[in-house]
């Protein structure tokens, strides 16, 4: 049960930025996995090389570094490709190339760090932070990562909501995601805003990565990769455009993964190793039953079974 909530926090922090970045920039970004990993590794390096135990400091630095990474990607790769008329599929593949490249860069960085500090960074243990408490309520211990996750997720949700609803910049961002051409015509500086979107999205995910270091027992340069499928699944439930549906998706998937598999195991004897199966089965079911409006869909009228006009 606790795990369900814990995972919910993580998934929210990881997937909301994905939806936000896609709907504003229309780029399916595989580097998202690296955002998670790099965020985690900022915390790891700070801890391993400088002995930092403040989660807040790690979060801030991670936000800045990974955010800038995201902007850099956009400036050097995505925007030039878009200007030259690349299709979204091409841009997606270029993000895949970046994903591979970033992974190896991180391996190289761990090598360099090892040379200086003689610690194996390729696999790093859980970090216990000094500035987040671990509370015990009525016999149930809420770990550090739970508290931090809860706070962070709440802040993120509130921040995104307030930003998009109340501020001018936020509304401008929504304008771009709804209709790019009109937004441009009405005087919104598209390029600056898109860069800002990348910065924010990369940054938020990085914070998630930092939190991940206090939860997982083993951080490797491929940590983000194993999660990327689930994060994308959640994004897809939201149609990659609706933030509400994404949030709901996070809750559903977290529930399936934690509570669902426990039920199935206890009552039907389904092996626990079927867990990833469940995630995908949920996705397919959701897509079939409630096709999202986001990225197009729906069977052509001629081939639908039920017709309204007979």
């Amino acid at each position: 049960m606790i795990n369900f909530l814990q995972y919910m926090f993580f998934y929210i922090i990881f997937s909301l930025p994905l939806t936000l970045s896609y709907r504003t920039t229309k780029v399916i970004n595989f580097v998202h996995a690296n955002f998670i990993t790099y965020g985690a590794y900022v915390a790891v390096f700070l801890h391993g090389m400088f002995g930092n135990t403040s989660i807040l400091l790690a979060a801030i630095i991670a936000f800045l570094i990974v955010g800038s990474m995201a902007v850099l990607d956009n400036l050097l790769v995505f925007t030039p490709l878009q200007k030259r008329g690349s299709s979204p599929a091409m841009i997606m593949i270029s993000s895949m190339g970046l994903w591979i490249a970033y992974r190896y860069i991180l391996y190289m960085l761990t090598d360099i760090a090892h040379f200086y500090i003689s610690k194996n960074f390729v696999s790093y243990g859980r970090i216990t932070y000094a500035d987040v408490p671990s509370i015990t309520l009525g016999g149930v211990t809420l770990s550090q990562s739970f508290i931090a996750g809860m706070i962070a997720a709440t802040i993120v949700i509130l921040a995104i909501y307030l930003f998009l609803e109340k501020t001018r910049i936020g509304r401008a961002m929504r304008a771009i995601s709804d209709n790019e051409v009109l937004a441009g015509i009405s005087g919104i500086p598209k390029d600056i805003l898109i860069n800002l979107t990348w910065f924010i999205c990369g940054g938020i995910v990085a914070i998630g990565g930092v939190l991940w270091t206090s939860f997982s027992g083993a951080i490797t340069p491929e940590a983000g990769d194993s999660m990327i499928l689930q994060v994308f699944t959640i994004g897809f439930i939201g149609g990659l455009v609706s933030l509400w549906r994404t949030g709901v998706g996070a809750i559903i998937i977290s529930a399936m993964e934690n509570i669902g598999i426990a039920f199935l195991n206890a009552f039907l004897g389904v092996p626990v190793s079927f867990r990833p199966f469940l995630t995908f089965a949920t996705l397919i079911t959701t897509l079939v039953l409630f096709p999202p409006l986001g990225a197009g869909g729906g069977l052509p009228y001629r081939f639908r079974k039920r017709r309204l006009l007979k």
Binding site: S118, K119, S123, I127, F215, G217, A218, E257, N265, V272
Partner: protein, 432 residues
């Protein structure tokens, strides 16, 4: 954007700048550096082919390596890389001290813990003329590599593959590590001796885990104990929900112990989560060799958990082996890391490879395949006696018991016992 007041409004067109200078510079520089380094060193070393004989100079033999430097086994793979450089140095010194005018060079490739890349590496290495390859680490990789090695007469020595389905005689695959059947016996004896009567075996749903769990089941049945099995999917990012299921299983069955069969990253992850579970902190824990040596287990969260549950693990080890102690000290001095599991098996594999090549007198795969078991018969190294059995696997493998103890420098791995003549003897008391 249209400017108000200008007569001609240039239509926004896609400005075709042929190249972006910034970008080219950013991309080309690492490429140029890489290629330049490559050529520079190529000219300098005059390498090529597996053997080069320069008159009145040393004969250079190349030994190929395919290690998991990225991917699931990368944390161990990185440590192995260091072992390789230590072992090659030792080998060259030893060989020189016997008066041979020979030098061995290592060619190391990363196989990303993937089957296909392992095959690709073996193919590339053999096409560069190399006839002896050390690695790959995982049994599934060895399986893919086997046919090519057998067909092209390449000797492959794996220091860590323990699948029972590879115990095939008369092939070119050798393994300097004993089968897990032996370790399962040690682990089950350890658990039984420590009082486990209702264990739950929590294991990886892959070949290693499945085979191990089966052996455990058999061993425990001989002792009259029925075990409970729970497997988990490998390669996931996090195992919190699996651990939760484990906890409820432990509770519902009233189990008194958990036996964990894992690798390092998943093992560390699982232990970290178990540390937070009330239920799981009340039972005894026993582990296989996978997580040994992984620094993540030395994090305070896990260390405390270890003492609470009196965690013991088994691993292949020749106890009271002065060569092993020596090896350990030198690794610590040179690289600042403790040798992890299979490092000793790897070290011996390298030594064996070198001596087998020398004994064969020529760099020929078939010849080396025949001399390797001969050399192994009289070789004693950090992993003990290197002798092979009929199937080309390590004949005598002892097992040791390890624990995570608290020292002045934080938590450390410590070997605290041996598995001897069917029972476990502790050499020191690690948990008060």
């Amino acid at each position: 954007m249209a400017h108000v007041g200008s007569s001609t409004v240039p239509l926004p067109s896609i400005r075709k700048r042929p190249f972006s200078i910034k970008l080219i510079v950013m991309i080309l520089i690492p490429l140029i550096i890489g290629v330049a380094l490559g050529y520079g060193i190529a000219f300098a070393t005059m390498g090529g082919g597996g053997v080069t004989t320069i008159p009145s100079e040393k004969t250079v033999y190349k030994i190929g390596f395919t290690l998991p430097l990225t991917g699931e086994l990368s944390s161990i793979g990185k440590i192995w890389e260091k072992v390789v450089s230590l072992a090659m140095e030792d080998l060259n010194n030893e060989v020189a001290s016997y008066g041979f005018n020979v030098e061995f060079n290592a060619v190391v490739l990363d196989d990303a813990t993937s089957d296909e890349k392992a095959l690709q590496n073996v193919q590339s290495l053999s096409q560069q003329g190399i006839r002896v390859i050390i690695g790959p680490a995982a049994s599934s990789q060895v399986k893919v590599v086997k046919t090519y090695a057998d067909n092209n007469k390449i000797v492959v020595i794996s220091p860590s593959s323990t699948s029972p389905t590879l115990a095939i005689p008369n092939d070119f695959i050798f393994r300097t590590v004993g089968s897990d059947a032996g370790q399962a016996r040690a682990l089950s004896t350890l658990a039984y001796q420590e009082g486990a009567r209702k264990p739950v075996v929590f294991f990886r749903n892959d070949e290693y885990g499945n085979a191990f769990a089966e052996f455990l089941e058999q061993n425990f049945r001989e002792k009259g104990v029925t075990i409970s099995k729970l497997s988990y999917q490998t390669g996931l990012s996090d195992y919190a929900s699996e651990v939760a299921t484990l906890a409820s299983k432990v509770q519902s069955e009233g189990a008194d112990s958990v036996i964990l069969i894992a690798f390092d990253t998943d093992g560390a992850n699982i232990l970290s989560h178990a540390a937070e579970s009330e239920i799981l902190s009340k039972v005894r824990w026993f582990i296989s060799e996978g997580p040994h040596g992984a620094s993540e287990l030395l994090a305070p969260a896990v260390g405390k958990f270890a003492s609470k549950v009196k965690l013991y693990g088994t691993r292949p080890l020749f106890i009271a082996n002065p060569l092993y102690e020596d090896f350990k000290t030198r690794m610590k001095e040179k690289f600042g890391i403790e040798p992890a599991v299979f490092c000793d098996n790897l070290y011996d594999a390298i030594k064996l490879a070198g001596w087998a090549i020398l004994r064969a007198g020529s760099y020929d795969g078939e010849a080396i395949k025949n001399t390797l078991p001969e050399v192994a018969k009289t070789h004693y190294g950090p992993s003990g006696w290197a002798m092979f059995d009929a199937a080309g696997d390590k004949a005598q493998q002892d097992y040791g018991v390890w624990a995570i103890v608290s020292t002045t420098e934080g938590y450390q791995f410590k070997d605290v016992g041996v598995f001897e003549r069917g029972s476990v003897v502790f050499t020191e008391q690690s948990y008060p």
